[in-house]
């Protein structure tokens, strides 16, 4: 069965530190990849998505992610985090043309001022 792994369950950073959150998936076919963010007490919002083309995807709020097909990875990065980035981050994958998303277990990020 297809799975999505987020290896870091909790990450604590100081403001201005760089961020990289890992996401790996197990499906070998065509995939669409997403990162969603959930700020405290709020619903999920789309940060960025990859469908095709340039494997380096830029999203909102300075986030970017790189799709590395050979590594089945879609890691999320931000060069300098802010306190307001404190949230839970979810990687999600859909395979082929499926409309169903499979979510990773999430990574809780705490940014200390």
């Amino acid at each position: 069965a297809q799975s999505v792994s987020q290896h870091n369950h909790h990450v604590i950073l100081s403001e201005a530190a760089s961020l990289e959150l890992g996401c790996n998936y197990s499906y070998g076919g065509t995939v669409n990849l997403f990162w969603y963010v959930q700020y405290p007490g709020q619903h999920l919002q789309l940060l960025l998505k990859y469908f095709s083309g340039d494997p380096l995807v830029k999203g909102i709020k300075g986030f970017e992610a790189e799709f590395i097909k050979s590594k089945f990875s879609f890691n999320l990065r931000k060069p300098s985090v802010q306190w307001s980035d404190t949230a839970e981050y979810f990687c999600a994958v859909s395979k082929d043309s499926s409309y169903k998303l499979i979510f990773g277990s999430g990574t809780r990020l705490l940014v200390r001022p």
């Binding site: 709020q42 499926s98 169903k100 998303l101």
Partner: protein, 117 residues
Amino acid sequence: NAGVTQTPKFRVLKTGQSMTLLCAQDMNHEYMYWYRQDPGMGLRLIHYSVGEGTTAKGEVPDGYNVSRLKKQNFLLGLESAAPSQTSVYFCASSYVGGSVLSYNEQFFGPGTRLTVL
């Protein structure tokens, strides 16, 4: 546009009670979904619908029923609540067709926090 809305926001049930969660979307989306979110487990798909009058099982459908009588509404029912159904429930909706850039992007509601005692 209100996007995706959910009612109620919070609910406490006793074991064995029933309830219905309502999801509504005003984006004319064909597809709608119900997820549950539990600590350390991400979001798991309960049921989904690909159009008015259609429903299908997701990853964790047991103990839940759904109905999609109108395109804009998707109801999630618990017939006999159990403590294992204590969770946060999210509804989502998505496009069919249109730009490939929007394909599969799901829009989420604010969630319903349900506690079953």
